[in-house]
Every structure is written in structure tokens, then in C-alpha cells.
Symmetry: C2
């Protein structure tokens, strides 16, 4: 059941279904190719009445009830996320395509009880942050990566596609309006979390691809989670629970990857652990730590060289994380001589063995929410692996170095193409 990049052909000459690779690529690129036009092209045929997502059409309705910016360190109110004054919504229907994007006051959505998303999990999302730099500028970090991934996730869950740069423009537009107030220049080094979301809204029961959908963008406060006291403590996944599998959808940012993982996470938290380290297969491959990518630094058994190791993307079990990708790129560029950067399958036994032989150097989880978060303990079947940390419970040396590089790009300490400056209105 391994994914295949080569479309198979049946003996009748009709291509067999091959969905998670070539067919998705085909659907994804249909829209990308027609970028720039306001018309949609499917199979090269122009469909003049089906409108593309077009950020340049954005309309603005500003709130008449602006809310107060909370004190630093306050993120939630009555168990609810504090969001900014505005959101952007764009409706879609199969008959007419994407409607006009609207920036409007943040507030509730009205959904019929029969809406597709409430029954069949026709939903996907992205997470990225806007950073108020120490130079006063407001930046997004690699929004092109999130926008491209959102299209891939949408197609995987039978939601509509769009041209990724349009989402990027909408993200910049929302931050241009809400950034100056909600990430004020007086609070350099702070961030806000952006959550583009797409849901199936067709109000018809029945297991089918929704004919109506809603794309919406919101911005919410969120605590910094990269420095839990004493580091992140991981519990390996229970024997009878698997997060994702070959032929599944572990690589897509769809709701269906998250809800089913909560039960194990809740149990682990009740036992004092922060996240699950998800293992895969009989041999226990290390895949993700909670909803973050997982990295280990060890001395290679054979060569004795220091290696930074993480799971590969090729079997589509894990998310192609933007932080993961950035960690790997910077490490390859800046640590090339000292550290080997390795994307490969490795198991919990490999980690246990490195620990036993004193070769385990550091470990961290990497993702937008947790940024680069040092791991201090990995609990596996009754055994605690204590992972070396830096002094006073901080990140180890390599983790700190990588984290520092990324932080500099995010907060304007280093001028870098990954930091996209938001043109603010004030």
C-alpha cells in the first residue's frame, strides 16, 4: 500500500485511481496555472462563470465596537481565544466559484446543523505567526509555505483549491489592518497567531464532497510555548493507537488528524507529560511530537559525528512543517561542517540505544505553535530517557543556536527573505 509517484494503468488502458500523489498534484496545479486570471480552468477548458479567489477584490467593513487590547501575558478570556477586531471571510460554491473576500468585524459564524463540516470533518487549516520586530517592523514568516500547504490540504479533504499567493495577500491585508493596534510597536518581540481555516458549509446530509465552502482568516493571541519549565516531556504513543499511516493523510493539515489524537494526549497530560511522541509500525518509528515535528541530535554510532536527525517526508506520515523545513535549511547552510543533517527513518529503539551508549546530545520539537521547544524526557514503556538540556533547564547548545537564527529572522535581527514585512496602514 505504499504511495506511488507513477500512475498505474489497468489492462483496459484506463488509469487506475491514484489519489494521494498524481491526482492531487493535478488538481492542485489546475488552479495554480490559471493564476492571474479571474476565470477557472479545469483540464485546460476555460470556465468563465467560475471565479477564482481574488484578493484584490477585498472589501472592508470596519468594526464599530473596537475591543481593548489585553495586557501582555493575557491570551484567553473566559476560556476563549482573544482574537483581533477583524476577520476575513470568502465564500465558495461549486456553481460560481470564489465570491468576494470580505474583511469585517470578528464574530460568530452561522452554520446550518446539517453543514458538511459538522459531520464529515471537511475542514483544513494553517497556523503561522505575525511578529513585531525589534526594529519596529511587522513580519510574517514564510507565508508562501503555509499558503501552498493549505491548497494541498484543501484538495486532500475535497475542499476547493485556489492560487496560493491570493491567501498570502489576504494574510498581509488582515495584518495591515489589525497589526498596528494588536501588535503595537511598544511591544517588540511579541507575536500573534494567524489561523486561515477552510470548512465545508453545504447544508446537506450525505457523504459527499461539499458544494459550498467558507475560507476564513482570524488572528488570535497565544502564549509562547517554547520554554516549558524543565523542557517538554514526551510520552510515546500507546501500543493500540496510531496517529497516521501510510496511505492516510498524516501529511495534510486537516482536522481529521487532530481530534482523534486528543484522547492519548489528554491521558499523557494527566500523567504529567506534555505531548505524545507518535510511533509508527512494529519497529516504532519516531514520527511527530504532539502536533510538532520531532528532532534528535546524537553522535552517530558508526562515524562518531554529530547528527541532527528527523523523520523523512517520503512516506507521507508527517506534516511538512514550515519550522521543520526552516530548521533543516539553516542547519545545512550554517552547520554543514560540524553537524550532519539527516532525514531518515529512525526508531525509538535507536533513541534508547543512543541514550544507553551516552550518544544522545539534544532533542527538540519544532512547529509554529511550539516554535523550537527543547525535549527533556522521553517516556517509553516504563522507562524515562533523560535528554541533555542546557544550563538551568534551557535549550541545549545546538537547539539554542538554531532557535536564535530563526528568532532573528522573525524579529528583524537578520534581514532575510523568509521574513515578509507587512505594509502597515498607520
Amino acid at each position: 500500500m505504499a504511495p506511488s509517484a507513477i500512475p498505474t494503468t489497468s489492462h483496459t488502458g484506463e488509469p487506475e485511481l491514484d489519489l494521494t500523489s498524481s491526482a492531487i498534484e493535478h488538481r492542485r496545479t489546475e488552479n495554480v496555472q490559471s493564476n492571474g486570471s479571474t476565470e477557472s480552468h479545469a483540464n485546460g477548458v476555460s470556465q468563465p462563470n467560475i471565479k477564482e479567489l481574488d484578493a484584490s477584490k477585498l472589501t472592508y467593513t470596519f468594526t464599530k465596537e473596537p475591543r481593548e487590547v489585553p495586557a501582555p501575558g493575557v491570551f484567553n478570556l473566559n476560556d476563549q481565544s482573544i482574537c483581533t477586531d477583524h476577520m476575513i471571510t470568502v465564500a465558495w460554491s461549486a456553481k460560481t466559484g470564489w465570491k468576494t473576500p470580505e474583511l469585517k468585524p470578528y464574530g460568530p459564524l452561522s452554520l446550518m446543523p446539517t453543514a458538511s463540516v459538522l459531520h464529515y470533518a471537511t475542514e483544513c487549516f494553517e497556523g503561522l505567526k505575525a511578529y513585531r520586530g525589534f526594529d519596529g517592523k511587522l513580519r510574517l514568516f514564510r507565508p508562501d509555505c503555509n499558503s501552498a500547504r493549505m491548497v494541498m490540504s484543501a484538495v486532500r479533504i475535497s475542499l476547493p483549491s485556489f492560487s496560493p499567493p491570493e491567501l498570502e495577500k489576504l494574510l498581509l491585508a488582515l495584518m495591515a489592518v489589525d497589526g498596528p493596534k494588536w501588535l503595537p510597536r511598544e511591544r517588540p518581540g511579541s507575536f500573534i497567531y494567524l489561523r486561515p481555516t477552510m470548512i465545508g458549509t453545504q447544508s446537506q446530509l450525505g457523504v459527499q464532497a461539499p458544494s459550498e465552502a467558507l475560507l476564513y482568516l482570524i488572528a488570535s493571541y497565544m502564549p509562547a510555548m517554547d520554554s516549558p519549565a524543565g523542557g517538554m516531556k514526551l510520552h510515546t504513543s500507546p501500543d493500540d493507537m496510531v496517529r497516521a499511516w501510510v496511505g492516510g493523510f498524516g501529511y495534510a493539515k486537516v482536522g481529521a488528524n487532530y481530534g482523534p489524537s486528543l484522547l492519548a494526549t489528554q491521558e499523557a497530560r494527566a500523567r504529567g507529560f506534555g505531548q505524545i511522541l507518535w510511533l509508527y509500525g512494529r519497529e516504532g518509528q519516531c514520527t511527530e511530537a504532539g502536533a510538532s515535528n520531532f528532532f534528535v541530535v546524537w553522535k552517530c554510532k558508526e562515524s562518531g559525528k554529530t547528527q541532527l536527525v528527523t523523520a523523512p517526508l517520503d512516506d507521507r506520515l508527517i506534516l511538512d512543517g514550515v519550522t521543520r523545513r526552516s530548521v533543516l535549511a539553516l542547519a545545512r547552510e550554517r552547520l554543514g561542517d560540524e553537524v550532519e543533517i539527516v532525514e531518515r527513518k529512525y526508531t525509538i529503539e535507536d533513541v534508547l540505544q543512543a541514550d544507553e551508549e551516552g550518544r544522545l546530545v539534544e532533542s527538540f520539537a519544532a512547529g509554529t505553535a511550539y516554535f523550537v521547544c527543547p525535549v527533556s524526557v522521553i517516556h517509553h514503556r516504563g522507562r524515562d530517557v533523560k535528554v541533555p538540556m542546557g544550563k538551568a533547564g534551557e535549550s541545549g547548545q545546538l537547539t539554542s543556536q538554531i532557535k536564535g537564527w530563526l528568532r532573528d529572522i522573525m524579529y528583524g535581527g537578520e534581514d532575510h527573505k523568509w521574513g515578509v514585512v507587512v505594509p502597515e496602514e498607520q
Copy 2:
């Protein structure tokens, strides 16, 4: 990674995480044991401020804008399901438990854009039908089975538990109010589809079990789908796509099982097939047909006896369907001497071989939506297996017989404990 019924214990004496079997059973029964009380008991400790779901508290607010019952054969309006005048909603919060159930006019739900269900697929549902009998009575079919399964699904997706008979009472209450008008006595032999749904409503971003939820019950028209012209045509699942996996959640009626399956189903429909026959593992075990259970009738290669075969429940890949369970029970009771009833793993190769050797007798899909639907074609990797049907494209003999028994119980042709009469208000 096979599920284990035996909780494992680590060498530290602390039980290891074991979630899909014993832990779920534990959580599920916490509530069942406290049935009858309005207080919740967790781990045997009374929690006086946490209210249980209590159907006897149901309040009634009747619609002031009753809608028209559509003509027979009309199920949707403007691409939307036609629902009855009322719905029942019950809110839940972790702090106070279940609130008062309310019967009220059918209408939209208001959800914050940050609601858990829209991001993390914290959702589960049930499907059952209310039948207007030829004897004039209104019946539900085994609502106790759906209620019990709903609790299991809710726990699996980290939504709150409740005592199953309370849901059964709410289903009866909704039909007592809307049944007389929406399934009128003048339309014997008709049905309406009931959809109890639970969603995580906590308005806070972050991957966590929701602290607020909403249970709601709606009733919708739905076409009869058990007799497509020429029978149901199945296409086996693509090589690179798996519906469910051992250690996953294929056995639970959670949204996360449905959204990810739509892409393959959409492709199959574009090629003239009705549903996907989902295969599992390298050997291609037959699991489900679309969102229904899958049955084959063949002559056993070894004994020559007629066998009714379907996939087993023990590896938790498939839904424990109420129709499946009922088909098996009736067949065991009424066909015992002529037909062997077998729940076991079998592969697409077994089906192909039976076809080649002329041993394939019939096949059908069984579920609430599709009832008992004869399968006429199974397409696998370029090959069409033509499954024998009855005369004029109807069900084969065994399929017809089983379907007739079930229909009789549903529509009052046979007095049976599975048919639960709704005490109607008029």
C-alpha cells in the same frame, strides 16, 4: 500495534497508556454506571455539580413558522436537506456538565470561528431512521444500538459521555412532536432520517479536548438509496489510499472517517461507480463499501456450502453497523441450516477467485442510509467482477429475503422487539 484487551503494566508499576480498548471502556462505563442519577461519578467519586444528561428535563419551544411538508419524492431544496420543524439541542461544559435539553425551532447554529469542531474535527454522529408503518404506527429501529455507539464515538474523539438511554428518549421526543406531521399516516412505507450529532464548541485555538460541546438531534428527508438502477457498482480503493488502519478509529462514527474518504469516492463516481470498496493491507482485505458494511454470498470452496461472509469487528477497522448486526442475527436465526454465517477476514483475491470458479452468489452493502443494497459490479485493477443479481436488476434471492425481514420489522409487518414504537402526540 494490534489492539490489546489486556492493560499492559510498565516495570514502574504504572499502567501504560492503553486507550482504544480498556481506557475507552472505562470512560464509557463511568457514565453508564451512574445512570438514573443526575450527578456524575468519575472514578467512583460523586461530583455533585456536574450534571448528567437528563432527557426528562426536556423543555419545549414550538415553532411559530411551521414549514410545508414537501411532496413525496422531494428531499432537498436549493441543495439543502429538508429538515423537520424542530431540533433538540443540549449544551455541555466540563465545569457544569450537561445543561437542560431544549426542543426548539430548527435553525442555524452560531459558532465562533475558533470553535474546536471547525479545526480539530471534534465531532461524531449517528444515523437512524423513523419509519411510518403500514399499520399506521411510527417506529425507530434499534435506537438503543445507535445511542450506545454514539457514546463510544464521543469518547474516542474526546467529547463528553452520557447515559445512552437518555439519547434514546430524546430521539423519541423529537419524533413524538415532528413525526405526525412530517411522516403522515397517509404515507405508509415512508421514512425520515434522524441525525444525532455532537460537536466540540469551545472557542479556543489549541490542540486540546474541548471544554464545551453541543449535542443536537435533527430529522431530515433522505431518498431511498437501496435500489440504484442496475445495482451498486463498487470500485476498489486506490493503492495509495487507506480508509482506516489498525490502531486508528475506523470503528467509531467520527467525522474524521468521512472527509478523508471523499476524494476517492468523488473520483470513483466520476467514473460511473457508486462507492469505494475499501481494501486493507497488502493482501487487500475487504472492509467497507462506501460508508456501509459489505457482504458477500458465495459457495465455500472447501465445503460447497452457501456462506454469507462479512469482515469481523475484532481489529476495529470497520463500523459495528446496526444493519450489519441485524442482518447477521436474522440470518443466524432464520437461515441457520441452509447458509453458514461467517465473520472473518477475506480478501479481494478470495472474491475474484469465487467469481472465476463460478461460486459467487450475491453481494450487498448494508447500512442505515443504503439499507440493504445489492452490489452488481466490483471493479478491481482493470477487471470487472459481475455479481449475480435477481431478475430485472433486483436483489438476488438471499439479499431479498433478508431485506424483506428487516423491512417487515421496520414497517410493522412483523411485531419485533427491534421496532420501537414512538408514542405520538396526536
